[in-house]
């Protein structure tokens, strides 16, 4: 008999994620017993949605840890692009969702962010990992007419609705990036910056 389901049903080991892994992502303190009850009810009622900002923070932290354990639905073979199933697009706000996936996935230096609706893939943005390009503490990035100085260890999002834009890093490396609703993410964090 069919029933309404939810994104977290794709992760069968939610109950095995250590609590401290989840709390490390949270900007506000959550009592451990409340967090355990929250996760338990997500497992019981996977079709339910977060109504408040605080609940969404927990959902995104849970997603980060669940994806770390099992990242296969999100990476396209070959290109390594991030592929977001439609189910996730309806369940999370887009920009925090992309942010969470960047935190959890092992990405190639330049990848697109795609949303999959049936057989159609729509590009909604790009992610560039610039950790290998740092020159001292800041690097200079030129995106169209904008010039940005980014700090080492930062993750920055730049709105970019245009389909394609050139990006220059320290006037040395050049990429063509695709924009969209999510924009462009420039990740200057090393692996240690992301891991706890």
């Amino acid at each position: 008999m069919s029933k309404l389901s939810g994104v977290f049903e794709l992760f069968p080991s939610l109950d095995r994620i250590p609590l401290e892994n989840i709390t490390s992502w949270l900007p506000r303190k959550v009592e451990p017993h409340s967090l355990e009850n929250f996760i338990g009810n997500r497992i019981l009622y996977p079709q339910s949605v977060s109504a408040t900002e605080e609940e969404m923070e927990i959902d995104l932290a849970l997603l980060r840890e669940a994806v770390r354990l099992q990242n296969s639905p999100f990476l396209k073979k070959g290109s390594g692009d991030i592929v977001i199933p439609n189910l996730f697009e309806n369940r999370f706000p887009l920009i925090p969702l992309v942010w969470a996936l960047i935190d959890s996935l092992k990405l190639k230096p330049v990848v697109k962010v795609l949303i999959k609706r049936g057989t159609i893939l729509q590009t909604v943005g790009s992610v560039v990992s610039l950790a290998n390009f740092k020159n001292g503490e800041t690097i200079e990035v030129k995106l169209g007419e904008k010039t940005l100085k980014l700090q080492e260890g930062s993750l920055t999002r730049i709105p970019l609705e245009r389909r394609s834009e050139k990006i220059a890093v320290n006037n040395q490396k050049f990429f063509n990036l695709t924009g969209g609703r999510a924009g462009v993410f420039l990740d200057l964090r090393s692996k240690n910056d992301i891991e706890r």
């Binding site: 069919s2 497992i43 706000p93």
Partner: protein
């Protein structure tokens, strides 16, 4: 715009099922296959040994451990009653007397420890049917009587523990915390229903006092994990924590649903069966006429147990729903309006809201956060 929600079966009335009544010690079953039984009918009697009591006899008589047996005044295997002379030693300036602290049988003398062990008298305990039904099978080897009966099934969302039977004790309010103080000896071998939550200390006390089972709106996840072995009911280990438990709503303090409480209240004081690992509570029919229907129905002995069905249903004006997510989780209400355009919640998600009405207020809830009753 069609809005859908899960419809989870919570109560199933007048089903025909089997219950197993088992003796807990050596005994004799006095019913036969095909026999019709009533709740107070005795199916079997069995001997139950309540245990042993050790007395450090050598120490009391001030003799070496192996020598204590010489001073016993009752033979091994003989009966003795509380206060009667158990051992006696004459001394130069007096005597040492040891009397029995309890009724029992002098079971043995342990020469190494210098202790005499008294075995309490066995008790003969009757096993009643507890239900109106027809005996489907007597298994003397396992000491079991399987009875076909008519019953109402109540399904929960998480549970632990093997099948246990007991008299149902229903707390008046389904939304209170069941405290440790409310758990007392009078609840031994009973099934408690009601309350929004019962915490770890009260659960432990209940298990120690021999409460058969507890049905609550919710449990704290940490308490449930310590009893069931895991959080995900789909990864059940089939544990038996010494007592059966069932939550009707989920994790946390959630009021027992009115749909379940109203059914269970009608069964208060009567016999019920709690299958924690299967997440169900069985309320046998209290009508003698149910036997008439049972005579007409054949039920194979080996079949899968009942489980709650979940299907998709359309949310309509007038539908009864149960809110499954905070801040109104556990509330039951009637749908009075359906939004035609989506709303963006403070979480950033865009979804349709439904307006529901309880006895006291109206509220708007995201439609994924309700289930149809």
């Amino acid at each position: 715009m069609i809005l859908n929600a899960n419809r989870r079966q919570r109560v199933e009335e007048n089903i025909i099922t089997h219950v197993v009544r088992a003796i807990a010690g050596k005994g004799k079953i006095s019913v036969k296959d095909g026999q019709e039984v009533t709740p107070e009918q005795i199916l079997a009697s069995f001997e139950m040994n309540p245990g042993f009591w050790s007395i450090d006899l050598a120490k009391k008589l001030k003799v070496k451990n192996p020598d204590g047996e010489k001073y016993l005044q009752r033979a091994i295997g003989s009966r003795i009653y509380k206060g009667e002379l158990l051992a006696f030693k004459k001394e130069l300036l007096g005597e040492r007397i040891v009397t029995s602290p309890t009724d029992g049988v002098v079971d043995r003398y342990d020469k190494e420890k210098g202790e005499v062990v008294l075995k309490f008298f066995s008790k003969s305990i009757p096993l009643t049917a507890g239900v109106f039904g027809i005996v489907a099978k007597v298994d003397s080897g396992r000491g079991e009587v399987i009875i076909k009966t008519m019953a109402t099934e109540v399904y929960g969302v998480l549970g632990a523990g093997r099948e246990r039977g007991g008299e149902l004790v229903v707390f008046d309010h389904g939304d209170n915390i069941v405290s440790k103080e409310q758990i007392n000896k009078n609840l031994e071998r009973k099934i408690i229903v009601g309350g929004a939550i019962i915490y770890g200390e009260a659960l432990k006390k209940a298990a120690q006092l021999g409460v058969s089972g507890i049905v609550s709106g919710g449990f704290n996840a940490r308490d449930f994990i310590s009893m069931a072995g895991g959080l995900d009911p789909n990864h059940r280990l089939g544990n038996d924590p010494g007592m059966s438990i069932l939550a009707t709503e989920g994790y946390g303090a959630l009021p027992t649903g009115e749909d379940i409480l109203s059914v269970v209240k009608g069964h208060s004081g009567k016999f019920a069966f709690l299958f924690g690992n299967e997440r169900r509570l069985l309320l046998p029919s209290t009508e003698a006429d149910s036997i008439i229907r049972l005579r007409k129905v054949e039920l194979p002995l080996h079949r899968w147990p009942h489980s709650a069905s979940i299907s998709i249903g359309e949310i309509r004006i007038g539908s009864r729903v149960r809110v499954i997510w905070p801040p109104f989780a556990g509330w039951q209400a009637k749908v009075v309006a359906l939004d035609q355009i989506p709303t963006t919640l403070s979480s950033g998600i865009s979804t349709y809201l439904v307006t529901v009405e309880t006895a006291h207020r109206k509220l708007k809830v995201p439609c994924p956060n309700v289930e149809l009753i």
